[in-house]
């Protein structure tokens, strides 16, 4: 089992990388469950991409990557993008899925042009956008993540009932006076903040993988909200640490490895459920019915 232990003896980078990965993975997994239940998984894709313009805004405010400016940038572009997607998809002649694609690609393109021209000294090049640099995380990123991860989890705990009721039955929630729109904006802004904070460490792709794959895996395995969140967190941690080991042992990028390991775990969960349901009802053609809103989660 020395392959499990040895990387940790090579220096602090493994511990720092694991810490950063954990601090991104846990909030992403928890927030991703709610995005998933709201059928907004593709918004995860959009929010992870707009982390880049968020960082450019932070750089424009502070001239560097000060944690406070990063948060301000994240909140700014998060709110702007959410509003933009809502405003565009309200028009009957624009498809709502197209609205997501229009807004985030425009912001992402602007971010790419900014980091390759005026914002060159922001030391985030296009390679970093894709790969991140999990094995050389900066102190600023670790500080920001270790403040933001607990804060976002606390926000989820405090807003749990509102998040749950708006995810399952937004009309009922609105009828009983829950601020559905405010909850939606708070959720998307928190996701953007986590994506911005983790950007330097993991790039744009890992947040997508850690927002969507854990929730999808959890939904294959369980139907209760609390156990979905628990399974999602377990999946995200397994994927992150698995990806980290794959990265150090095969000398590949941790960002890609985390997404691939997460995908394998999702595939395993799907296969396990299929095999499980066949053995339980051996010989019958019964398959699990479509999940319905009345019975349990979703």
């Amino acid at each position: 089992m020395s392959w499990l232990v040895e990387p940790w003896t090579w220096g602090a980078f493994m511990a720092r990388g694991a810490l950063a990965a954990t601090l991104v993975a846990v909030p992403c997994a928890v927030l991703g469950v709610f995005l998933y239940l709201r059928r907004m998984s593709m918004l995860a894709d959009a929010l992870a991409h707009i982390a880049l313009p968020g960082i450019v805004v932070a750089w424009a405010i502070s001239g560097g990557l000060h944690p406070g400016a990063m948060l301000a940038g994240a909140v700014g572009v998060g709110l702007a993008a959410t509003w933009g997607i809502e405003a565009i998809s309200r028009r009957a002649r624009v498809r709502s899925d197209a609205a997501i694609g229009i807004v985030f690609t425009a912001l992402f393109a602007a971010g790419i042009i900014a980091v390759s021209t005026v914002a060159r000294d922001v030391h985030i090049d296009t390679d970093c956008v894709l790969f991140g640099d999990l094995l050389a995380v900066s102190d600023d990123t670790l500080t920001l993540l270790s403040l933001l991860a607990p804060a976002s989890l606390l926000a989820v705990v405090l807003g749990w009932r509102w998040l749950a009721v708006t995810s399952f039955d937004p009309r009922f929630a609105a009828a009983v006076g829950v601020p559905v729109v405010a909850v939606h904006y708070a959720l998307t802004t928190t996701v953007t903040a986590v994506a911005v904070a983790g950007f330097e460490a993991v790039g744009a792709v890992v947040p997508i993988a850690l927002l969507v794959l854990p929730a999808a895996t959890a939904h294959s395995l369980t139907h209760r909200l609390t156990s979905m969140v628990a399974v999602a967190v377990a999946h995200a941690l397994l994927a992150s640490f698995g990806g980290l080991y794959v990265a150090v042992w095969f000398d590949v990028t941790p960002a890609g490895a985390i997404a691939v390991v997460g995908g394998l775990l999702y595939g395993l969960a799907r296969i396990a459920m299929r095999v499980g349901s066949h053995t339980l009802v051996a010989g019958s053609t019964h398959t699990p019915g479509p999940v319905d809103a009345g019975r349990s989660v979703a």
């Binding site: 998933y36 059928r39 907004m40 998984s41 593709m42 995860a44 894709d45 028009r91 009957a92 002649r93 624009v94 498809r95 899925d97 197209a98 609205a99 997501i100 694609g101 229009i102 690609t105 425009a106 992402f108 393109a109 602007a110 790419i112 042009i113 390759s116 021209t117 060159r120 296009t126 390679d127 894709l130 790969f131 792709v205 997508i208 993988a209 969507v212 794959l213 999808a216 939904h219 294959s220 000398d251 590949v252 990028t253 960002a255 890609g256 490895a257 985390i258 997404a259 691939v260 997460g262 995908g263 999702y266 799907r270 459920m273 398959t287 699990p288 019915g289 479509p290 999940v291 979703a298």
Partner: protein, 300 residues
């Protein structure tokens, strides 16, 4: 950058002083128009984000083909990209077809895993000692200036053939998109149309990777058609406007990328297309052509 340099470079660009700039212009315009054409059907069929997944999913195929062949020859790279992009759309259908995962999540799952695999392969390719992998990064954000003449020929043949096919089949495609039950009654094979649109979309993505790049190709498939659908309500004019906006974005994007140092073609094209959408969104606001049909004016 001063105005003088800008003007000088613009002059160089419009007079085709450099062959590579001319090739970049032709490639960007062709790709923009093709994406606008194919994307219109994709957007109307609510498959926009499948285009995003397909775009990202070309990366593992292209880099994988490079790792196997060790060269940047066009044919294997395109074949590899086409293979993994088709596989990704198949995964989306399979995962969404299973009852345990939401269809929107299925697209995101496929995108994240395929693109993650692409990044892993790319990090292996970047490790290789040969200089051959230099320029592989161009397919991420598009480097139309790097398009060689043989590449341009291949690209043009595929793009023009695909565009001709779409135009030849425009009537059954339109009917199947707007009124599937009528189309079925009229004998249009719907599953074949769906497979055909997916194939066309994947091919458009694959030929676009040199000019636009895998990351932002979805924008060229989504934004020009959405703009066209804001300003027109007839299918033939929507197709024409969309292809026109795509081509114009390609041309302006290629020019921006030529005159401003460090700007890749892909983001430049996408920003131009986004600006066109923003203009249409603002100025088409109260235009009566926005109303889908007369009945809507009464009810709304």
């Amino acid at each position: 950058m001063t105005g003088a340099i800008l003007a000088e470079r613009t002059l160089e660009f419009v007079t085709f002083e450099y062959a590579f700039a001319a090739r970049a212009l032709v490639a960007s315009v062709l790709v923009g128009a093709l994406c606008g054409l194919v994307g219109t059907f994709m957007v109307l069929r609510r498959m926009s984000l499948i285009g995003d997944a397909a775009g990202h999913a070309t990366l593992p195929g292209v880099v994988g083909a490079f790792l196997v062949t060790g060269s940047k020859a066009m044919a294997p790279l395109l074949a590899g990209g086409l293979g993994t992009a088709l596989l990704a759309t198949w995964v989306v259908e399979r995962v969404a077809g299973g009852r345990r995962t939401r269809p929107d999540a299925a697209i995101a799952v496929s995108l994240a895993v395929f693109f993650g695999l692409g990044l892993v392969l790319l990090s292996i390719a970047q490790r290789s000692p040969t200089a051959a992998q230099a320029g592989l990064n161009g397919i991420l954000f598009g480097n139309a200036a790097g398009v060689t003449t043989p590449q341009l020929v291949t690209l043009s043949v595929i793009a023009l053939t695909l565009a001709a096919l779409v135009l030849a089949l425009v009537r059954p495609l339109t009917v199947a998109t707007f009124d599937p039950s009528f189309a079925r009654a009229a004998g249009v094979p719907l599953h074949l149309v769906r497979a055909g649109v997916t194939l066309a979309l994947t091919l458009a993505v694959v030929v676009s990777i040199h000019a636009v790049g895998v990351v932002l190709v979805a924008a060229m498939l989504i934004t020009p058609p959405s703009t066209a659908l804001l300003v027109t309500r007839r299918m033939p004019s929507a197709l024409a406007v969309s292809a026109g906006i795509g081509a114009a974005s390609g041309a302006v994007g290629a020019w921006i990328s030529f005159v401003v140092d460090g700007v890749s073609t892909g983001p430049a094209m996408v920003l131009v297309a986004s600006a066109a959408f923003a203009l249409a969104w603002v100025f088409a606001a109260d235009s009566p052509v926005r109303l889908p049909r007369r009945a809507a004016r009464v009810t709304s």
